[in-house]
């Protein structure tokens, strides 16, 4: 991310506080809203709902079918009522990648806040035109024989990738799989791997 000039930062801070104070006064911003936002995104750092849903899908074929075909019902298992998610499955023949070229639409209901790189021009411009090259920079090699599907989130539907389970993970149960499933794998810029032994 380009660093702003310090004076620009000061101006932005002042302007945010100005707007915050006006909206408090006008009865639009609840007094505890900023604290609630910080609490939700900085303090609640449990596993992502997206990772939990993927782990369950790997262990339960019926749940996997629901996640792909009736995602709202599948997410209800984790106490989330969200009808705009669509889940796209990686296979030996297909690798999926999610982007929003027009702004930064992101399935935050299941993945939390997006990383900065997802919102910056480099990723948003390049993901559609040179996804293999971008994926290579993330350490994911996709051979030409494997189709890449890029999902440009231009409407209110939100996309999440169902990655392939890592080879050799058959001994792990759902709870053991969850920590292996990174946010990046659910965007499509990483694969899920077992931790190195030793």
């Amino acid at each position: 991310m380009g660093k702003n000039h310090p004076n620009v930062d000061k101006y932005v801070e002042s302007r945010v506080r100005a707007l915050e104070s006006l909206l408090l006064e006008k009865g639009i911003l609840p007094a505890d809203a900023v604290d609630r936002v910080i609490q939700r995104f900085e303090a609640d750092t449990g596993p992502l709902i997206g990772a939990r849903a993927v782990a369950r899908a790997w262990r339960d074929p019926d749940y996997k079918r629901r996640l792909l075909e009736e995602p709202r019902r599948a997410l209800a298992d984790f106490g989330l009522d969200f009808d705009m998610l669509r889940v796209v499955e990686n296979t030996a023949a297909v690798h999926n990648l999610v982007v929003c070229t027009l702004c930064s639409c992101y399935p935050w209901a299941v993945l939390g806040l997006p990383p900065t790189w997802y919102k910056m021009p480099a990723y948003r411009s390049r993901a559609v035109v040179e996804p293999r090259k971008v994926l290579g920079e993330f350490g994911v090699e996709v051979p030409e024989s494997r189709e890449i599907r890029v999902w440009d989130s231009s409407a209110e539907l939100r996309y999440m990738v169902l990655p392939e389970p890592p080879a050799g993970s058959g001994h792990l149960d759902e709870a053991g799989l969850v920590p292996l499933i990174s946010r990046d794998a659910l965007i499509g810029v990483a694969e899920v791997r077992l931790p190195p032994r030793g």
Binding site: E42, P115, A122, V129, R149, S154, E156
Partner: protein, 229 residues
């Protein structure tokens, strides 16, 4: 509008820069902008399409050298001033107040806190799906061509996807139409489709091999394409 926000397929932005162990927010003001955004939406000050069009109208050079939450701040303030929620003058005066008092919390400037029920605060956006007013014009498998539209106002048809041949992948039902909803012209729900394009259709011979692009597009963006032969 053909703005700088419409980045798909552009060159020259360099490698994707990643930050290790990135925090949820890089500064307290970013969390405040997030809270202001949610509160504004929850209390109906503007809709998502008006907000997005607010961001799109940011000065293009400023857009490229600033980050996400500054985009939000710029879009939120533009729309709120346009709608008369806050005046440009009171915002300017308070900005000067806090510039002179860099350590003062936001409540320092509040003249009187409102009494009565607290304002609403919802985490989730309102759903965009609506009852359909007409049957879908297209079905999965139909060939379509995107229209070559260049409206001065808001649209969600990316520049790189205009005048391109694709195939309907999924019918998503009727959804609020951003092109009217951003301009006070109503929701005018239209059928939304997931349309599949071969990357070569967008980027010609420079496209990478074996790549498809799926974009969610509203029916007014689409015309019937030639049947597959």
């Amino acid at each position: 509008m053909d703005g700088v926000h419409d980045l798909g397929g552009m060159h020259g932005f360099g490698p994707v820069a990643r930050e290790q162990n990135e925090p949820a927010f890089h500064a307290a003001w970013e969390a405040a902008v997030y809270a202001i955004m949610r509160a504004s939406m929850s209390n109906g000050l503007y809709n998502l399409d008006e907000f997005r069009h607010g961001v799109e109208r940011m000065d293009p050079a400023h857009y490229l050298r600033s980050g996400y939450y500054e985009h939000w701040l710029d879009g939120i303030t533009r729309v709120q001033v346009e709608k008369g929620v806050v005046s440009a003058e009171e915002l300017e005066r308070r900005t000067e107040f806090f510039t002179a008092r860099p350590d003062a919390p936001a409540t320092t400037a509040v003249r009187a806190m409102p009494t009565g029920a607290p304002p609403r605060f919802r985490w989730m956006a309102e759903p965009s799906e609506r009852p359909a007013t007409a049957p879908p014009r297209f079905a999965p498998g139909d060939a379509v061509v995107t229209r070559n539209l260049h409206p001065r106002g808001h649209t969600r048809l990316p520049r790189y996807a205009r005048g391109r041949k694709g195939v309907i992948h999924t019918v998503h039902g009727a959804h609020v139409f951003p092109d009217t909803n951003a301009h006070g012209a109503g929701e005018q729900p239209q059928t939304l489709y997931s349309v599949c394009f071969d990357a070569r259709e967008m980027f010609g011979e420079t496209a990478e091999a074996n790549q498809k692009i799926y974009i969610d597009l509203w029916e007014p963006y689409l015309e019937p394409g030639a049947p597959r032969g």
